[in-house]
């Protein structure tokens, strides 16, 4: 058995060194984060590994948009699955709006009058829907050429100019981007607005499954990164189940396995389903992703 080496911080210590020391130090939060850093490096550097990343939660209002973009630009990720909300937040920023630092200890009625939509302690101005409407109205004919959600999302990416956009980066880097619940988002509402006016956007709800499963089938190895749970995690997990169990895995979550849901399930649970390889290398980190992700990414940058 390995002893817990008490963590020694030195002035100016690089982040990658800090995470390496955390790995030696313990097995609770810091030890798990340290292990995650090592697994992530191996996963990203393993040329035979196809990396699937699932992203849920308010990461763009939480300031993580640029890091997600840089991960795509650096080709750390081969496939991204995320929620409609994250893509809406990304598009909103691409159209020139911002999210704001706010507070949860406010009158929501007052905020409503001011046109501010609250997400815990960050705000999004409600007028974002104006440019969103314009964007969808103007480009709808382009969207109607798309057969799958992936094509639709790449199309959006192709139509925006902001280089620091997740949608744009996925499009430019040709990284498949899936969002099986895209209807459940501001983007979904924009499409609905056109449908209400008699237009059609007949993208099949089941038609992206084949592509993500094929990616897993065609890979030599699969690795997974989960920031939060929800549908992004589960959509990747089910592709692995029918294709190929993952050999690398890093999960960052604030949910807990004790509730029985997929979001909080430990990665090892996936072994029973054939989604994770019993001899694989994976770790669950119980931490706010807006804290863990910057550290893991900074460490990757130093060591890549």
């Amino acid at each position: 058995m390995k002893t817990v080496k008490q963590l020694k911080i030195t002035k100016g210590m690089p982040i990658s060194k800090l995470l390496a020391e955390m790995r030696e130090a313990g097995v609770m939060g810091s030890g798990r984060l340290g292990r995650a850093s090592k697994i992530l490096k191996e996963m990203v550097q393993d040329k035979d590994c196809t990396v699937f990343m699932g992203v849920a939660g308010a990461l763009v209002p939480g300031g993580m948009r640029q890091i997600l973009v840089d991960m795509l630009r650096n080709k750390y990720v081969d496939c991204l699955v995320t929620t409609g909300a994250t893509l809406t937040h990304d598009l909103v920023e691409a159209l020139g709006y911002h999210h704001y630092q706010g507070s949860a200890h406010v009158s929501d009625e007052e905020l409503h009058k001011q046109g501010m939509d609250r997400m815990w302690d960050s705000y999004m101005p409600n007028n974002v829907y104006e440019k969103l409407e314009d964007f969808f109205e103007k480009n709808f004919a382009e969207f109607q050429k798309c057969a799958t959600v992936k094509e639709f999302l790449w199309k959006i990416g192709s139509l925006i100019t902001d280089k620091n956009s997740i949608l744009r980066a996925a499009y430019e880097e040709k990284i498949p981007l899936f969002s099986p619940g895209i209807a459940d988002s501001g983007i979904g509402l924009m499409v609905w607005g056109r449908i209400e006016k008699g237009k059609k956007l007949p993208i099949g709800i089941f038609d992206d499954i084949s592509e993500i499963i094929k990616m897993s089938w065609d890979s030599k190895k699969s690795g997974i990164i989960y920031l939060g749970g929800g549908m992004p995690k589960n959509f990747i997990q089910q592709a692995l189940q029918v294709a190929k169990p993952a050999v690398y895995g890093v999960q960052i979550t604030t949910d807990m396995p004790q509730w029985g849901g997929s979001s909080g399930a430990e990665l090892r649970e996936g072994i029973s389903w054939g989604k994770m390889e019993p001899k694989g290398n994976f770790i669950d980190v119980y931490c706010d992703a807006t804290i863990a992700l910057p550290l893991l990414f900074a460490s990757l940058l130093e060591e890549a």
Copy 2:
């Protein structure tokens, strides 16, 4: 200000009385559950109120299937939104399989060999996919007649005989059932299996939004019940946002607002978005839904 009345339990106290006492007692867990019971009763008894229920998490493996069915049968709910997983678990039981009481302290590798898929401390036998395959193979032509997810789910309901099925009950009671992330589930995989063989199921991913929004528009009042968060909650919330803010609301969750995501957001946050009515009557209960739901339902039954 009201004093906290220390809760007095008497032998044989009915559940509705217990919840009424909890309401007087405090404002933490028990006080919130007590309030939820009252709001739920008012919501269900208000003939002008359209009740939207969002259900996420492993509620069928957790033993809540019959209660959900009874809520539909009793017309306590006018619209149900749930995950593909819940509908798959329901269908699996309708086809004659069961979930099992297990343990989380096991070897997942061993479980995998035994063909048991684990969800925290409950198991599903992996052979459920056999009858699922048969069911979808046999009925696929019927499914191809469906234009929306709602129609597809009602069609499934029409093809099964188990009266104690959520899918069946929604179909028979003509309660709209939505599942915007249906692709992300065992049901999604079954459709994929047919698509891989060259069949088509061109159900539009955006085509249910209109119907749920119309339900909210057409209602005199809206009320919401959330068991867990995820897409079911958010899909209802966005319908309210563009249609009519809810005046009644009960949320049962184990997630927390502090992470910033939609799942854990307090209902009052919805006021800022126009999803909840500032003068509405709503409460967040921080509790495992498999504990809170039986109590709330038992109380409703006694008082209805």
Copy 3:
């Protein structure tokens, strides 16, 4: 393996029956609560079993005072360990004050001006310190006769008249009451006030350990009930460690084992320490105690 029997609620179902059905239904929250109910009944009815109960958290402001008193009066518990805060809240009520139903969405500065001390969404009026001061000033000579915390707490109990007080009930029923962190509470502050004026209260900090360990040694069997964690749980656990591992155990907690602390540790962890019997019968329930406790107690009453 046992199947998950889907929970069926019938109108007017007694609480004990509900818990029995929960036990059959699942293994997540409801199944665990159902098991807890059974273990609790066995523990309480086993005449050879000495029951140790640890209570932490804001249970009196949360309305649980009467239930705790009734558990003492019914001799369900043979030893109580709790925090100084709980005993202060109990004493405050015994002196005629109340806690109030409030809100967490307030200005704490405003509350401070109004003389209201907030505990999440309940309040305690700051003027409780007036009668507390009088009580300690008047009775201090009596307290100076006490050699241990247990004697001191029984003495307080003997000096108050409120039958519905935890302190009073423990005193009258001769149930040992320990509070190893009593200095950390309003009661501690009252003692400090006298010490500042030159009085002495030389109660030894280590002098109660012997008595609780002896209780475990002298018992034929030990059983434990934990409402929350903190010092009450750990003080009982360490007595078991040096005396006799518990054979029955029910833990109600909102903390999680993943953080590594004692409060959230699963009961089975105690097996490694010799605090819990490997063949013992115990369960962890992840639930707000103000929800779980009324149910468990109501069920006990029906079945006793």
Copy 4:
């Protein structure tokens, strides 16, 4: 209102710079951690501020011992309050033992046979009690000279040679160290062992309150750092309540305010009690302390 500046990570970015960027980025986890870093720096650099630190949870098994020692050595902290468990873990390491990296997915019965005491996924060998016994047996006469817990703990510190010990560092740096629940720990058990043999250690349970309150009274300003909650946090809070509200505050916790207990209470709640200054500068960070503390300390070192 300030916009959320999307966090940009650059290769080799110092940790203090990362935290400064986090501060600009958001208000969820990373934004809060960023703010904590700034408040901590101001608190530590403010020569008029007396810094009280409360430490709970398994921080030594989690590898944080050296950081805590370095914080004492660097005089970042003027008063330390911690649990008996943390001091026992510290003493165990000072006597030459180690904690070990383990796993929670084990047989606790097997661990018990191997003499390993588990704390989630770290272990402590049960034979630590041998040298602990020797240490207390040998030095008990020295301990009997102590009148308060603080004196007792400094005495322990004076009798060990390990420079990297919390107890030793507090003693050498003359930093008051309080542990109001010291009886509830391995150290408590060692004292009990001597008391069982007829020796006395009449340290008064109420006798440290005066000293910590005096420290707050005598300070020009108070600042607080809480790693976890429990008694350490509360013991400091009650000193502030009767003396001087804190103007700086950083709380790192995995507990939540929604349960109503002191451990999870937001710092702003303290304003209602007069424990925190309404115009003070404080932040709650919801994060495992073994992740947040190394970052905050590393940043302090860079900026000091």
